[in-house]
């Protein structure tokens, strides 16, 4: 390459961090734009992550250590993108103009708003919380009901906000089953006396060693898995909850009293830059990729690339791999441009 080219990565979660690290290692100038005060994305909220209980901090620290000369702009977002590849100009919220030969969008996801499943009572009942809130309790080693008691019976409700046309999310969020298994183990470790129930519809533990984690949770931790999706919860005067569901394996409608109900909230698209970047969305409202099989890091616009959960639910390792894969796609794109070659974007047949 003749002149040094600059790449702008938007979003400093695991995908964006991994991509930035890889891009700068190729000798490119990289600017990483992160909206929050800290990079790390959702990892900043997690305690230990599945499948191997690595502390989330360790992952962020590692990815940050790979950033080299990357220029990191925190508390910053993008307000405009003008020009076309390879001469984009990005306007930031602080008013700076940043030239970019290529752009990577790695703006991640949002949590499903559990209040929309009114029948579960999130925001209404004291002891109905989300998996995000549970992680914060685990971090503090302080799992308590709102009344300050140590919960004895705890249920984790799978598929909250996923696989549900009633909230317009037909897709599976992929990580919540394994996350539920992980959380159940962690609860049991912190509260050995507790009884833990996972109310699931299908157990989707898809990754390497995930199945083993599932088995361990049953064999060593005695977690109960009940095949039936939570239908509704109601509150008793003492703040405990009565859950209604069907045990579909014995075909019996059931009631279960619990002290704490944890909703395994799914992922929703964060496509706040869709208009600014002029990018189309898929029917799941995540960014559309150029091709679902062989052009997964390419957007529908030349020179704008996508990585991580911006294009659909992924685990951390997948997001990191996807970020690095996007970095390779960007390098290939820039090399072809620099040579004045026609860019070989994977052509759609």
């Amino acid at each position: 390459m003749e002149k040094k080219q600059q790449v702008v990565v938007i979003g400093g979660g695991p995908a964006g961090l991994a991509a930035a690290g890889q891009l700068q290692s190729f000798g490119l100038d990289v600017v990483l734009i992160e909206k929050q005060a800290q990079v790390g994305g959702h990892l900043n909220k997690w305690y230990k992550v599945f499948p191997d209980f690595t502390p989330a901090e360790e992952i962020v620290a590692h990815l940050k250590s790979q950033l080299g000369n990357t220029r990191v702009l925190t508390n910053t977002t993008v307000t405009a993108i003008s020009g076309e590849a390879p001469d984009f100009s990005i306007t930031t919220s602080s008013g700076e103009q940043i030239p970019a030969a290529a752009i990577l969008i790695a703006t991640g996801y949002k949590h499903f708003d559990a209040r929309l499943k009114e029948e579960y009572g999130y925001g209404i009942y004291d002891n109905c919380i989300t998996s995000v809130e549970l992680d914060a309790m685990l971090k503090e080693n302080k799992i308590r009901t709102l009344q300050g008691k140590i919960p004895k019976k705890i249920a984790l409700a799978h598929c909250v906000g996923s696989r549900d046309e009633k909230v317009n999310n037909n897709y599976c969020s992929r990580v919540c089953c394994t996350n539920a298994v992980k959380l159940a183990i962690e609860i049991k470790e912190q509260l050995p006396e507790s009884e833990i129930y996972c109310l699931y519809m299908d157990i989707r533990v898809f990754g390497r060693t995930y199945e083993e984690l599932y088995r361990t949770s049953q064999e060593e931790f005695g977690i109960q898995f009940i095949r039936g999706r939570l239908s509704e919860a109601s509150e008793k005067p003492d703040g405990s909850l009565v859950l209604r569901f069907e045990d579909t394996l014995t075909a019996r409608p059931m009631r279960l009293s619990v002290d704490l109900l944890i909703l395994m909230v799914g992922m929703e698209a964060n496509t706040e830059l869709a208009e600014i970047a002029r990018l189309p969305l898929g029917c799941d409202r995540f960014y559309a990729t150029l091709h679902g099989q062989y052009a997964n890091n390419h957007s529908h616009r030349e020179g704008i690339f996508l990585a991580g959960t911006a294009t659909g639910p992924k685990a951390i390792m997948e997001s990191i791999t996807d970020g690095r894969s996007a970095a390779a796609a960007i390098l290939s794109f820039l090399m072809q441009k620099a040579k004045g070659m026609e860019v070989k974007v994977p052509t759609l047949v």
Partner: protein, 239 residues
């Protein structure tokens, strides 16, 4: 594919109520009928989904499809947008059309629905009249009802909802003949009349004759419980 399944799939209630089922159990968990009967909307969805003619006939002959109270609790929560309540409606129509309803105890009670609600509607445009609720058949309503039953006419005058007065307010008014004609036309066009006839015919076929149907009906009127009528087969078994 079987003929009945084809026909079921033509029913608009079925089309609206049946997508693929996740077998999640949300419907059965909230279904009030599932709590007290051997009934599960999820099971009904599954049987239909199999598209197996024999299994469908089995279902149409069973008590199951009559347990549903049409409360529609199953419908707003289904993550696949199914409605067991609607599927049940389609199944009931099919069961009546082919006479399978008469094979089950709950199904045979359709005669009551037809003769009371159905005929009231055709004659008066109202499903239930206060005069239908006789103290003899509904002793649990107690002496207040008995008093009301006997003084209905004057009491309704006091309340300003007089009986049998054209276009008056209340549940005992006379609906003008012109409107009744429209109502009957709707019942005819939608096939409801045909279903009502099918109930009489289906009962006749099952019980053996029109006289037997009347006996069944009388048993019910007199004892308030259709199970007091013994089917021929049951009678033979008793011997």
């Amino acid at each position: 594919m079987g003929k009945l399944i084809e026909e079921l799939k033509q029913d608009i209630q079925y089309q609206h109520g049946m997508n693929a089922c996740l077998n999640c159990g949300i419907c059965t968990a909230v279904c009030p009928a599932a709590e007290v009967y051997d009934y599960s909307p999820r099971e009904v969805m599954n049987i239909c989904h199999q598209e197996d003619e024999e299994a469908l006939i089995e279902l149409l002959k069973s008590d199951k499809i009559w347990y549903c109270g049409q409360c529609f609790s199953c419908t707003p929560r289904c993550p696949r947008g199914n409605s067991a309540a609607r599927v049940i409606l389609a199944l009931r129509r099919l069961s009546i059309r082919y006479g399978y309803f008469a094979e089950s105890e709950k199904g045979r009670q359709q005669l009551f629905a037809k003769r009371v609600f159905g005929e009231n509607l055709l004659k008066r445009g109202l499903t239930l009249l206060a005069t239908n609720i006789t103290p003899q058949n509904f002793p649990e309503l107690g002496e207040f009802w008995e008093y009301y039953f006997e003084h209905m006419k004057e009491m309704r005058e006091w309340w300003g909802v007089p009986m049998d007065l054209e276009n008056s307010p209340g549940s005992h008014r006379i609906i003008p003949e012109k409107d009744m004609e429209e109502l009957r036309a709707i019942y005819k066009a939608t096939g409801a009349l045909e279903l009502m006839e099918a109930i009489e015919k289906g009962m006749e076929k099952k019980l053996g004759s029109k006289e037997e149907v009347e006996k069944y009906w009388q048993t019910w009127l007199e004892t308030g419980d259709s199970r007091n009528y013994q089917l021929k087969k049951e009678k033979e078994e008793d011997k």
